[in-house]
Point group: C2
């Protein structure tokens, strides 16, 4: 490539909170994903791909519009009315569709990967805990966007447990250990912080949020970026999504990884040497497809 | 899993045009992706991840709203006005956000993976052709949704060439051969059809579409599903996105693969035996990470 304007092929290009990743960053992303899906396999979580949209009515069940309207992007149909006056060639680059140019929206874009997991289990009467892992393109409106640190669209990997309180709490404890161990391996200095939730609307219903995320803990880089979190929702989603285990609303918990934030922190750690970052990740036990740390034999931990 | 309602863990669950894929189908998807990205590597296409949204103003440059308004889903901000009356717990499942509940939309969800590729190259003065591959979550409103055949949200892998006419036409010829060879290997009976473009609005500006997609050819299963297409856009995107090579607007072409449609056709072909489908794909030269067909040594074709 001889044209320096081809940001496509640079490892990372960011504009207006939207990111383009080139080959080098994508190789690091694939290596990270191998680690996280390896952890998921260890704890017996099935890999699932969930829908890219969530029904308005389903999100309302989770008090989403009461607590997070400022984050939400709806998927609104564009009007096909002859007088809609839709933009044509030559309009300004920052043109918007407004008013009668938009029909209604039946769906909202996910702001986190796990909502659709609880909805997928809606109505279930479980006989045993369920674990799953998924990766989702997520979207959040923010007051401002900052490189890979705070994006309009980003990728979230989650490893989710649904079951009795002890099982889901043990799920979080195990992931806290794994995250700390992996950070040590990479030479990342992470601190654990009980979170001021990034979802949190400073003007909003704090009491509800504290109930929703009473034990959110974040893993924060020395540059102040939360790259992972573990979240215990008690029986909130079990009640709201009607998921039961042993006659009681199930408890839920998830470990969540903001992929682009990991890329940002790793690029810093390895002085923008993406190949060195990839090599460091691939040398982590399990990231090459072999058994992970603490696993005495392939599959033994499943 | 003992609960048959857990559609999450079935290979495929579809509701209202939105799909959930379980582990077995995801393994087949990964095997397919290994084949397609192997082809991309053979032709020297870099892997890039492009933004998940497209600016309204950028799509207008491609006459998108003149030709495809009926397909479009805009990413509209949800109103945070105190009197917006957003839905709360207990609203009907099919609730919609309408009118003043929505603020404007600066972005539209992609209906194809390659628009953002041309935009990423916008303004480039190339000294040589460029090839890239990308996979994108795409969205299309349709009159009706049919299982995996016609989805509201779907995954499209594309292998794109930008350059002189001969290079991009050779790109399509090479992919036509590869697709036919792969279909033979899998025992899929595909026919090639000059397309009635699925984008095509029957009430719309047909003349413009014929100019835009004059040489679209689709690969259609015996059940009538187009699972791949090769598309030659002449210099349309080169002009509109201001991509030049040797002083002329670049020509562009892409090979496109509808991943969920491949899954549908493969499930039919292998009588819902997903493991057999995966095995068949993995036995295709190159799908196991080794060199592809016609490659005399690893990397020789790059």
């Amino acid at each position: 490539m001889t044209d320096s304007r081809l940001q496509t092929f640079a490892p990372v290009g960011v504009r207006d909170g939207l990111v383009t990743l080139g080959p080098a960053a994508l190789r690091v992303r694939a290596a990270l994903e191998a680690v996280f899906t390896g952890w998921a396999a260890r704890v017996g979580a099935d890999e699932v791909q969930l829908p890219p949209l969530i029904r308005v009515g389903d999100l309302a069940r989770f008090d989403f519009f009461a607590n997070f309207p400022h984050l939400a992007l709806a998927a609104a149909a564009v009007s096909t009315a002859p007088d809609a006056g839709l933009p044509t060639r030559g309009v300004p680059a920052d043109s918007r569709l407004t008013g009668t140019q938009l029909d209604g929206a039946e769906y909202v874009l996910p702001s986190a990967a796990c909502y659709n997991a609880y909805l997928a289990l809606g109505g279930a009467r479980l006989e045993a805990p369920v674990k799953l892992t998924t990766v989702a393109q997520c979207f959040r409106r923010e007051r401002e966007y900052q490189g890979l640190r705070r994006l309009h669209g980003f990728t979230m990997r989650e490893i989710v447990a649904v079951g009795d309180p002890d099982t889901v709490k043990a799920h979080l404890a195990e992931h806290k250990e794994l995250i700390a161990d992996f950070a040590d391996h990479l030479g990342l200095a992470l601190t654990t912080e009980v979170a001021t939730d990034p979802f949190f609307d400073p003007d909003g219903a704090k009491a509800v949020m504290q109930r929703l995320f009473p034990t959110k803990e974040e893993f924060v880089s020395d540059s102040g970026i939360a790259i992972a979190s573990v979240n215990y929702h008690r029986n909130f989603f079990g009640e709201r999504a009607d998921i039961h285990l042993g006659g009681e609303p199930a408890h839920t918990a998830c470990a969540a990884f903001g992929i682009e934030r990991w890329l940002h922190v790793l690029a810093d750690r390895f002085d923008q040497d993406w190949d060195a970052a990839e090599k460091a990740i691939r040398s982590y036990p399990g990231a090459d497809g072999g058994p992970g740390p603490g696993t005495t034999a392939p599959g033994a931990a499943r």
